[in-house]
């Protein structure tokens, strides 16, 4: 019979509760034999009380003060025995100094959310109006963290082989047109029903916009035009970093959102699809001096937030406050959080919103060697996770190309987006385009960073959809209720001759062709392509380039477009399959612009309307040839690939470079042809009739394979 440990029984009593001093690690609430271990850090609290509620109750059922002997350093930790942990919610009251200028905001009348809460109640069902008089809105709960993963683990797809699909959990299946069962719409379980669609499209990685607990009712207000309630729909405002959003789970009302999300990850992995989470460590939902007490403000304001010497909140995020990421304690929280998602939820990677903030010190100065970014890059648990930075912030720090990378970080390449959009309307030099198509060596090669550093995209949740880039010259955000003042003005878009919807068949045909041009160039670029969910079926947001607050058709994917724009879906599917079939498009290192395997062709060569002669002075015509023998730095043999781009308003004849004898050019894609002949399933490409050259109609792209 095993002898019991001598340190797991109660030593104290408070009312009917049996207690003992707990262990400081891990932070948060953890199941231990006989009870629950609670642990929370505060550098300046003078007292700490654990507040317990019966699930959903208005008033607490007990408030247990933590005695001084339950404090180890600055960590309060306590085991409470025999708790019915599935049916309670917990919070903390903390007392301490309250001095604005010193940055102290302790207030013992507030009940505070545990920053390490693994499950949070209070918004269990999306969109249900909360009780505004609730004394404790976002309530920590205790999770069963077990899950039967069977043999699942992170997929570890090579960085250069990723094809990323950016999506919002609710938008993806909320519309009845999705065909998903009603109870599952707009949830993690709903995404599982659409996995066959994702597999058919061919993407191997989905990037989910924020899925940790956030408050959709933050800043809710009526739409001035329609009266409907505008919500915090996108969720870039964290309430709880460690908890998946209950409102995104159809089992949220049962508190099983953790299981539901894990089941999604397991199913995605079974189908060869990675999952990347969009994480927002740059600010929290507590806002500025006028914002609510949710958590950090009342626990340790000075540690968690960047404060000015006068005690105000720095606002590098543009949303009210800025998380003090390079403070060692906050750094620990960020690391614990990401390790938690990677190990408990088997997440494959993270995309960091406004990541430039992660490189600022507590007073906001950019650091050349930011401890947080260094720790993340070298962390043992996160070692194989993708780390992607949105390498700018709202305080003027633009770091695309210069983000402190430590050999690990990738970046959302905003320059790729800008250059490709400009090229589509003939507005940029082909020299700039050439750099983007090669994985932006001008930005990344000098510091030894590989092409996969560059996350190439033309559209994402911020800004126009791909269909809107080719349908609108100007943003139309009136529905946001801010007089069209919100959203960026530099959209680099061109409406093809008419602003908005039109019956004109020529304009609509040009729009489809431009979308295909964009996608074709994206899929033959070195680096990592990312597409926006819905672009493959011509999704429109009616010209609104900032739909952060809409819980309606502006954001919900309209699946009827799959039939209406079947030509687009087929083209996307073929191009994605083409990229997957050709390793020469996915090199781990940059081109050397020379022949280093003895094939007689350089790894990449540039051409124009004349073969072997590129005209770098024009803005409309350019072509490149990839030598198949140089694929993956010469380790793999692939076909030769030739891509010609004509953004001129007139048809042009392109002379095609010759292939080694015995090889012949076949045509994989020609956006100038009508569907279904605009692209072919890889392996079925027809022979090019005239091997010496071909006509590219105005604004079209051709891809040949030999």
């Amino acid at each position: 019979m095993p002898i019991e440990r001598i340190d797991v029984h109660p030593t104290h009593k408070y009312e009917s509760f049996k207690l003992r001093c707990g262990k400081p690690y891990p932070f948060g609430a953890t199941l231990v034999p006989g009870g629950v271990n609670f642990s929370i850090y505060s550098s300046l609290a003078t007292s700490c009380t654990l507040v317990l509620f019966q699930k959903h109750a208005k008033e607490p059922m007990a408030e247990i003060p933590l005695p001084e002997e339950f404090r180890i350093g600055n960590v309060y930790c306590m085991v409470v025995f025999d708790l019915d942990y599935e049916n309670i919610e917990y919070g903390y009251r903390m007392d301490g100094p309250n001095d604005f200028q010193q940055g102290h905001w302790f207030d013992k009348t507030k009940i505070l959310l545990d920053p390490y809460a693994k499950l949070i109640g209070g918004r269990d069902i999306w969109g249900v109006t909360p009780d505004w008089k609730d004394v404790y809105h976002h309530r920590a709960k205790i999770a069963n963290e077990d899950f039967d993963w069977e043999n699942d683990k992170a997929l570890e797809i090579a960085p250069e082989d990723q094809i990323i699909y950016e999506m919002h959990v609710r938008s993806f299946t909320r519309s009845p047109s999705s065909g998903v069962r009603e109870k599952f719409r707009g949830t993690f379980a709903g995404i599982r029903e659409k996995i066959p669609y994702l597999k058919e499209l061919g993407v191997n990685s989905i990037e989910l916009m924020p899925i940790y607990e956030f408050d959709e009712f933050e800043n809710s207000r009526p739409n001035p035009e329609t009266g409907e309630v505008l919500l915090n729909y996108w969720g870039y405002s964290t309430v709880g970093f460690f908890a998946p959003k209950a409102g995104f789970a159809s089992t949220g009302k049962l508190g099983m959102q953790g299981d539901e999300l894990k089941a999604l990850v397991k199913e995605l992995h079974k189908n060869g699809i990675e999952i990347i989470l969009d994480v927002v460590f740059n600010h929290t939902a507590e806002g500025n001096e006028n914002g609510p007490y949710i958590s950090y403000r009342g626990i340790d304001n000075k540690t968690y937030y960047m404060l000015t010497p006068e005690g105000y909140y720095f606002n590098f995020s543009g949303t009210g406050n800025t998380l003090n990421c390079n403070n060692p304690v906050v750094r620990g929280m960020v690391l614990d959080c990401l390790r938690y998602w990677a190990s408990e939820y088997h997440i494959d990677g993270f995309r960091f919103d406004l990541a430039a903030i992660l490189g600022r010190d507590p007073l906001g100065y950019p650091l050349s060697n930011p401890p947080l970014l260094e720790s993340l890059a070298f962390d043992p648990v996160l070692a194989r996770c993708k780390l992607i930075a949105e390498a700018w912030d709202a305080g003027g720090l633009y770091q695309v190309g210069s983000f402190p990378a430590y050999g690990r970080w990738a970046e959302w390449n905003g320059k790729y987006r800008d250059t490709l959009r400009k090229f589509l309307k003939g507005d940029t030099t082909v020299g700039d385009l050439a750099q983007r198509l090669q994985g932006s060596p001008d930005l990344y090669a000098p510091s030894g960073r590989v092409p996969a550093t560059s996350i190439n995209f033309i559209s994402c949740h911020d800004g126009f959809t791909l269909m809107d880039i080719v349908s609108y010259n100007y943003k139309h955000n009136e529905a946001n209720g801010e007089n069209n003042n919100d959203g960026g003005n530099d959209n680099d878009s061109w409406n093809c001759g008419w602003e908005g919807p039109t019956d004109n068949p020529d304009i609509n045909a040009l729009r489809h062709r431009q979308i295909k041009n964009a996608l074709a160039m994206l899929m033959v670029s070195q680096g990592v392509p990312m597409i926006l969910s819905g672009d493959e079926i011509g999704r429109t947001k009616n010209g609104n380039n900032n739909t952060y607050c809409h819980d309606n058709h502006l954001n919900w994917l309209d699946w009827t477009l799959l039939e209406k724009n079947a030509d687009l879906f087929k083209f996307f599917k073929d191009c994605i399959a083409f990229r997957k079939a050709h390793p020469v498009l996915r090199n781990p290192d940059h081109f050397q612009n020379r022949d280093y395997v003895g094939s007689g062709y350089p790894d990449i060569s540039w051409h124009g309307t004349k073969a072997w002669y590129a005209d770098w002075s024009n803005n409309q015509t350019i072509a490149f040839l990839l030598c198949g023998k140089h694929a993956k730095q010469g380790l793999v043999e692939d076909n030769y690939i030739y891509v010609a781009m004509n953004m001129h308003w007139e048809t042009q004849w392109f002379e095609i470079p010759g292939l080694p004898s015995q090889k012949q050019w076949k045509i994989f894609a020609n956006t100038g042809a009508n569907s279904p002949e605009d692209s072919w399933e890889p392996g079925t490409e027809p022979l090019l009739e005239n091997q010496n050259g071909l006509l590219l109609r105005d604004r079209s792209v051709v891809i040949l394979v030999g």
Partner: protein, 111 residues
């Protein structure tokens, strides 16, 4: 409603009938019956859920536990009510068991 569960074994098929609400307090009873069934020489375990009104995450875990400890036994869940069936499906557990709307001898007794 109080939880109740009963075990009957006929011809190497164990059937546990559950009724009421399977929450964390009731889960140990259910687990005990599953363990009892696992000690027998059976080819199939049938959980009859026609009278089960509610199953919390603790109950779900007993089902998973059952599957893990009886790898050569097919686990059938029969007659689960809508809320319970949804929970099983949304958490992905339906992949490891066979869900039937009613007891189908042709399927269950085929061995």
């Amino acid at each position: 409603m109080a939880f109740n569960c009963e075990l009957k074994t006929i011809n190497a098929i164990a059937t546990i009938s559950v009724s009421g609400e399977l929450d964390r307090k009731a889960a140990p009873d259910f687990q005990a019956k599953v363990e009892e069934a696992s000690k027998q020489d059976i080819t199939a375990l049938v959980i009859d859920m026609k009278e089960l009104e509610y199953m919390a995450s603790a109950g779900l875990r007993v089902l998973i536990f059952a599957k893990q400890h009886m790898p050569n036994v097919t686990v059938y869940v029969v007659g689960a009510q809508e809320l319970v069936a949804d929970t099983i499906e949304k958490t992905g557990f339906n992949e490891s068991i066979v869900m039937l709307s009613k007891y189908d001898a042709a399927i269950i007794e085929k061995n």
